[in-house]
Amino acid sequence: MASFFDLKARKAAGANGSAPKADDKKQNTRRQPWVEKYRPKTLSDVTAQDHTVNVLQRTLQASNVTPTMSTAGEVAAKHFHMLFYGPPGTGKTSTILALAKELYGPEMIKSRVLELNASDERGISIVREKVKDFARMQLTNPPAGYKSRYPCPPFKIIILDEADSMTQDAQSALRRTMETYSKITRFCLICNYVTRIIDPLASRCSKFRFKSLDQGNAKKRLEEIAEKEGVGLDDGAVDALIKCSEGDLRKAITYLQSAARLVGAIEKDQDGGDSADDAMDVDRKTVSVAIVQEISGVIPENTIAALQKAMQPRSAGATYQAVAKVVENMVADGWSAGQVVTQLYHSVLQDETIPDLQKNKITLVFSEVDKRLLDGADEHLSILDLALRISNILSGKG
């Protein structure tokens, strides 16, 4: 029932507002994930990938000059396919989309850019047909006057997002296509693991490594978004966000949005949008460190500490009992084994009391258990095994 009234209220709001369409659009943007909403619009907006952005910006400028001039940038613009790689959430897709937008502007982007990702069918047949057809297509001329606003260089861009999930066959089918049409078509491959791109393709591209975001930049960006959305942040909440997301800005933004939803910080002041509302904002709830941790599935410190304590060497029988009990509770509480492994790993490695030699051995155990979990082995057994083995090593037997 509540939502029924809500609907009515919303309609009333729509009638009061200037035009229903505008209201609709506004709602749409509000519903949008912030990740999409705050995707960088231009290259200079891209956070913390200075090197890559510099090179690309030079491309942008170079494409303005006449073909006869032979600047370094122009050479680059002429001959390069690009390969972006790096961990998730570092801005790879954002960068190329921003570049495409700056190069072609809203009108030409449809005819000049083809974006394919793993959610599209991308087998060998698609590479042979769709990609090849697009690559082969002659360039259409931009409308008069358009060129003064956007550079519109004389080539198309094919973006193959998540290229590491393409099959080997599909990748090799690309090889010749890339070369033949390189005059009018540039490829941009995006992937997480550069090793999964076959060598012949990798060697045809200039590679750009996207590094994990450093703290400062990520923090700045998060604070900026929080401010724009009117979300209050507790002290240390931003740091917690960054820590939980491990350099993945997308993850951090998603967490931020979820946290904001949970404390109910968005709805009101987005609808109003007036500065008059600011006065009310004072007593609104803020995003705290605890909420951030809860959302990101981070295991509380004391749970990990309890496990570590249980692993400390003591008479053999007692160890098993203690460890088994803690592990059983952890599994029942639904903590994901992967998270247990990661956090335990950090806390064990930072433990100064463990000699280096033992740490070496412990690391080996971690690597094995991680592999097993990835293969889908049972979590309970794996974690129990991990804890017991570590405790065995700690007691000097292993």
């Binding site: 939502s3 998540e162 979820s258």
Partner: protein, 352 residues
Amino acid sequence: MALIVDKHRPRSLDQLTYHDELSDRLRSLAQSGDFPHLLVYGPSGAGKKTRIVATLKELYGPGVEKIKIDARVFQTSSSRKLEFNIVTSVYHLEITPSDVGNYDRVVVQDLLKEVAQTQQVDQSARQKFKVVVINEADHLTRDAQAALRRTMEKYSPNLRLILLANSTANIIAPIRSRTLLVRVAAPSIQDITTALADSAKKEGWPAAAGLHKRIALESGRNLRRALLMYEAVHAQNEKITDDTPIPPPDWEALIGQIAKEIMEEHSPNRILQVRAKLYDLLTHCIPPTTILKTLTFKLIALIDDDLKYDVIKWSAFYEHRVRTGTKVIFHLEAFVAKFMRIFEMYLMQMDM
């Protein structure tokens, strides 16, 4: 007659009896109109599905309860036809892509795109988007998960996903970073006893607090199992008291027997006998992991403390082998043989 598990299943968020904080959070998410993709994880029998169904009801109203089952045919690129069942209501659909094994990518791609590209038909619907619930998301292949990535972003105005999984270990990082993680912990012993007492009241069964407690302990914090056990106890006994024995499931009894046999004698002959029993379990569709795990914990209870470390180590080792290998029985037997050997070695050391 429906089982009490189904009959007394809470239908709305208000009726849920434990994890109140989580229920509140789901409610506020559902009401905010700004619903994210969810990844719900937790051990089985913790109430993941129940919570999600209740959340959907909160989102769309009672319309989501009118469900029908569609059989759809998908075609793979090698023109193989796949039959696939979808549970749908006007507002949401529910799929179990792991049903089609390696072809789940085709289903995920085709189906989600189709859903995402059509708008909500019902104009009076409360939400503009449709929800797709994906069961057993941790069994999705890498390909299928990769296919989900961009879909989740691109079609987010029309489509929200709810992934259900037992653990997040097998979910690739890009998916995890696009979803809101919701952990559903197993109910505590106290929660289970309360739930059992509630069911007893609804059925008009006499309350037996001691029995409830014992069932809760026995169930391993799995509410579904607890309710089933409770019903089984009632079905088998006329009169219920605090001391009514709880019959263990057949397979568990059999595994207990295997454990005893392994302890008694360590010989190739005994392995042969055990093999027959293991085959018996497998043909009754008991998952190999469950067999190995139960067997391990039954054995652990019987052996000396010094040995426990080794047994767990090898149990984890062979469990991994079961996952990666194809023939399950090899690894189960290997574990049995290994255990006998460890135990024998231990005894010999003791003699010396």
